[in-house]
Amino acid sequence: MADDRSSQLIILFLVFVVLLNAPILQIFDRKELWFGMPALYFYLFFIWLVLIVVVGLIVRKKRK
């Protein structure tokens, strides 16, 4: 259903707006290296990738 996808995408937008903005972002603003990367650098790119994958999955569902 097109409506389902729209709602999912809006919720996705709201969730990631929170995840990628202050103050949630400040939780990861640390002087540490995670997996050899600065914590914030790792967090931002990781969330970014998750967002891309989830959008891809939601959009992909329609072909089935």
């Binding site: 809006i10 990628l20 202050a22 972002l25 290296l33 050899g36 790119f45 990738l49 967002l51």
Partner: protein, 912 residues
């Protein structure tokens, strides 16, 4: 590296772009769309990544740490909403044939000219700094490649020696040629889009190559690089927001600004909406484009850290992408990186300048020119060429404005700071666009007020202070506030300090913009046109059924108009109308010419008379945009309507017919019922008639059988005679019934021969002479010597006369019976009349007596003899002889039956 090598490579690269664009346009002309592909669409959206991304992000990272990422996370966050929002904007734009963001906003608020001008000014003035950083980056790049480590480029003594000037000239001519190669009414440039998509690939590959070289060539991977960075104080600072001095608030505002920019920047609107070939490309672009942004940003921080660790302060961080490979001896990689950066800059400039020149010419220059001196309406070809010239001039103008800005103001700032000024300007369009999409109540006045207020606050907070610092205008208002009011300092409005200028300006300008927009909207009334446009924008899905749209052109061919007229008015009327028009306006219409506005409206008015104003509008609209698909579609729809009207007309006719039929059927039914009743009566009569003789035959036979001996001879004979008579009666009755059946099924009399009617009458009278005598009835025939030849069957005609005579006999006056037979000839007919002096026939019965099964009942005479079939049979036989029978009667004065038969055409027989 020599300057000629750099310039040679750049020119070769530009030639490649021309080749790609030329090839794609060529294929598009043949109907093969290369850019009609979701990946090409997503890649062309990456025009978002400019020299800012390529060179500026690294520079930004050295001072602001990870804050450069905010510019890419905004678009990423908005991507999920494209599914609804971008699709909606695209559908509206294709439906309204919108060619730019200024066009979009002006259309939404009642096709307002004022708004078009305001948005164009905001866009042009706001984007000039953005263009300037592209020029600066290319100049930077060339200087870095040619003068690396050999000291800074010598300060130019005049602009003739300034590489920035020549870069501007080169870019202006490139854009002028590239962006305005042809004039497309939909502002679609497939070649341009393909070139931009190609440049996006070049950007990503070259930047990643430098990143990989730095991370894995100079250092041993991410771990090594980041670990070393944490060991130095200046690089460790870059790894967190807190230490790099980025406040959470400014990060959030930056994300919001870039979120708006991805849709509102003129070039983004142009690529994602105007150049969009199908909304079906959106879902794929929703994840491919963010993925592109992610990939191109992975190595920004590593390059910035490496540059910081390797170079001392002498090298500008904005050039690290070039200077790191140069430092490590990879000159070829530096050259490739320069081509990548050059791609980023050229794609931005070409698309941005094209988009801005469309706005500038459509909303400012052309209206101005038309007002100054009306452009000849007949010279369309000239007009198109002139329009392209106007576009080229606008491009030139904007690029030199950008050059001036860069020379005077931009040189003191780094790339990203200048770019963000433009982002803040573009964000001023956000309230009116978002409100326009979802808030029907928003008015034109609200939009104008909001935009003006937002633009003034933006100008006051960002470009004006920077110009003041560059010494162009007085500096006093920056430090002391406007009119020496301390609340009006451009970097600290209302005394709020501690926020960086961009965040500060973005916050206040958007706040005032949105408030003014909302408050003025609520307190003003929208115009009619504004209301309809608002409904169309907000509820676009109501107006568009499918997801596809047609590409429409804006000109009407005279041939098309003629075709439409022919279709609805017919050829004669069309010719008459058009020749009237030609004579009246003293023009000659050529089918291949483009129709003038007054001809179009003339045709529309003529059509309105035939198919109604609304339909005429639809038809003319479709033709006026010269879209064959849409025209066919409309024709089909209207044909269907016409068919429906015809159908309903036919239905009405059928309905009428049905009514008549029903009436006839009702009448027939009444007749049938009567006949049925008559038949029932007849059967009763016939059975009665049959039973009477049968009863008497049975009774008499029984008497003879039982009392044969006792009956005398005379009695027996009498009884037997009665039995014979009664048997005759039965057989007569049966014969008559059989006769009727025959008459019903028989064809007209088979054996026709020429007969003498007089002879037949005489013969018939002879046959009943016995009865006449018995009943003492006087019978006269006048005249007896007339020759009346008729064609017919002798036996049947005799039967007719006998039937009529028997009838007359039956009803004759019992005491003084009299039957008169008249014969005469008149014209081509013969008349035979038989008159009796019986009681006559009542008027209401006269119609019935010729029907079968009719017997007259009368009180005086009681039940008559016979079967009720005689007259019916008579009438049928006469009709078979092409004649007619009628009756005349006055109750109490007898009845006259008259037979009329056609005279025989054959040679007369010998006189009898």
């Amino acid at each position: 590296m020599s300057l000629s090598l750099v310039i040679g490579c750049s020119l070769a690269y530009i030639s490649l772009l021309f080749l790609i664009a030329w090839w794609v346009d060529k294929r598009a002309e043949r109907g093969v769309s290369v850019v009609n592909n979701p990946y090409v669409y997503a890649l062309s959206l990456a025009v978002y990544c400019t020299a800012w991304t390529f060179f500026g992000s690294v520079g930004r990272a050295t001072t602001g740490g990870l804050s450069f990422l905010g510019v890419y996370l905004g678009p990423t966050l908005l991507a999920p909403l494209w599914y609804m929002m971008l699709r909606k904007i695209i559908l509206i734009s294709k439906n309204q044939r919108i060619t730019s963001i200024a066009d979009f906003i002006s259309s939404r608020y009642g096709k307002s000219t004022t708004l078009g001008v305001i948005v164009t000014l905001i866009a042009v003035l706001g984007i000039v700094p953005y263009i300037s950083i592209q020029l600066k980056a290319v100049t930077f790049g060339i200087n870095t490649l040619t003068h690396f480590k050999s000291g800074a480029a010598p300060a130019p003594t005049s602009f003739w020696l300034d590489s920035g000037f020549w870069v501007t000239v080169a870019m202006a001519s490139f854009t002028g040629v590239f962006g305005t190669r042809k004039l497309d009414p939909n502002e679609r440039h497939e070649g341009l889009v393909a070139a931009v998509a190609f440049e996006s690939i070049v950007k990503l590959i070259t930047f990643s190559a430098v990143g990989l070289f730095v991370t894995f060539g100079i250092y041993n991977g991410f771990g090594d690089l980041f670990t070393q960075a944490t060991l130095r104080e200046d690089t460790a600072k870059m790894l967190t927001f807190e230490s790099s001095g980025i406040t959470p608030f400014s990060w959030n505002v930056l994300v919001m600004l870039s979120l708006f920019a991805i849709i509102l920047l003129p070039r983004q609107f142009h690529i994602s909406v105007v150049e969009n070939t199908s909304p079906r490309h959106i879902p794929k672009a929703m994840w491919v484009f963010p993925l592109y942004l992610l990939l191109i940003n992975i190595f920004v921080l590593p390059i910035a850290l490496a540059g910081k660790m390797i170079f001392d302060a002498g090298i500008h961080p904005d050039t690290y992408v070039l200077s790191l490979p140069l430092e490590k001896g990879a000159a070829w990689l530096a050259l490739a990186a320069f081509i990548g950066g050059f791609s980023a800059a050229t794609s931005m400039i070409v698309v941005e300048a094209t988009a801005l020149s469309i706005m500038f010419s459509n909303h400012i220059l052309v209206p101005l020119l038309i007002r100054m001196r009306s452009i000849g309406r007949n010279h369309l070809v000239n007009g198109a060429a002139r329009l392209l010239d106007i576009r080229r001039i606008s491009i030139l103008l904007m690029l030199f404005l950008a050059y001036l800005y860069q020379k005077s103001v931009g040189s003191t700032y780094d790339l990203v700071s200048v770019g963000l000024i433009s982002f803040t300007a573009a964000a001023q369009l956000a309230p009116v666009v978002i409100g326009g999409l979802y808030w029907k109540r928003a008015t034109h006045q609200g939009a104008v007020a909001g935009l003006i207020v937002g633009f003034i606050v933006w100008a006051f907070c960002l470009p004006l202070p920077s110009m003041a610092q560059a010494g162009i205008i007085s500096n006093s208002f920056v430090n002391e506030g406007l009119f020496h009011i301390s609340f009006l300092k451009p970097y600290a409005l209302f005394g709020v300090t501690g926020i960086d200028p961009i965040t500060h300006a973005a916050f206040w300008s958007l706040l005032f913009n949105a408030w003014t927009y909302a408050i003025v909207s609520v307190n003003t009334q929208p115009t009619m046109l504004s209301l309809t446009q608002a409904d169309l924008f907000v509820n676009i899905h109501k107006y568009i059924s499918g997801h596809e749209y047609d590409i429409l052109k804006r000109e009407a061919k005279i041939g098309d108009l003629k075709a439409v007229l022919n279709r609805y008015l017919g050829e004669t009327r069309t010719l008459a109308l058009l020749s009237d028009y030609q004579v009246y306006n003293k023009v000659v219409l050529d089918d291949h010419q483009t129709a003038q506005a007054d001809l179009v409206s003339f045709v529309e008015t003529s059509l309105a008379g035939a198919i109604g104003a609304a339909s005429a509008r639809v038809v003319i609209d479709s033709v006026a945009k010269e879209d064959p698909i849409s025209l066919d579609e409309v024709m089909r729809i209207l044909d269907q309507t016409r068919e429906a009207v015809q159908h309903s007309r036919i239905m009405e006719e059928k309905n009428e017919e049905l009514k008549t039929l029903t009436l006839q059927l009702t009448e027939a039914n009444v007749q049938l019922k009567q006949l049925d009743r008559l038949k029932a009566d007849f059967i009763t009569t016939v059975t009665h008639e049959l039973r009477t003789p049968v009863t008497s035959i049975k009774a008499l036979s029984k008497i003879i059988l039982d009392d044969y001996a006792r009956l005398d001879e005379e009695r027996r004979t009498a009884y037997l005679q009665i039995i014979v008579n009664e048997s005759d009666r039965i057989s007569r009755l049966i014969n008559q019934v059989l006769d009727i059946e025959k008459l019903r099924s028989e064809e007209p009399v088979q054996q026709m021969e020429q007969l003498e009617l007089t002879e037949i009458v005489l013969h018939a009278v002879d046959g009943v002479q016995q009865l006449l005598t018995e009943r003492n009835i006087k019978c006269t025939i006048t005249p007896t010597n007339l020759s009346l030849p008729v064609n017919g069957n002798r036996d049947k005609l005799i039967q007719v006369v006998v039937n009529l005579l028997s009838n007359a006999l039956k009803f004759c006056n019992q005491q003084e019976g009299r039957i008169d037979i008249h014969l005469k000839q008149k014209d081509r007919f013969v008349f035979l009349g038989i008159r009796d002096n019986g009681p006559g026939i009542p008027a209401q019965a006269r119609q019935l007596i010729f029907e079968q099964f009719t017997q007259l009942h009368s009180k005086e005479q009681g039940k008559p003899h016979g079967t009720g079939l005689g007259l019916y049979i008579t009438k049928k036989i006469v009709e078979q002889h092409h004649g007619s029978i009628r009756v005349e009667s006055e109750p109490g004065h007898g009845a006259l039956f008259e037979i009329i038969l056609p005279l025989s055409n054959d040679e007369p027989l010998d006189r009898v």
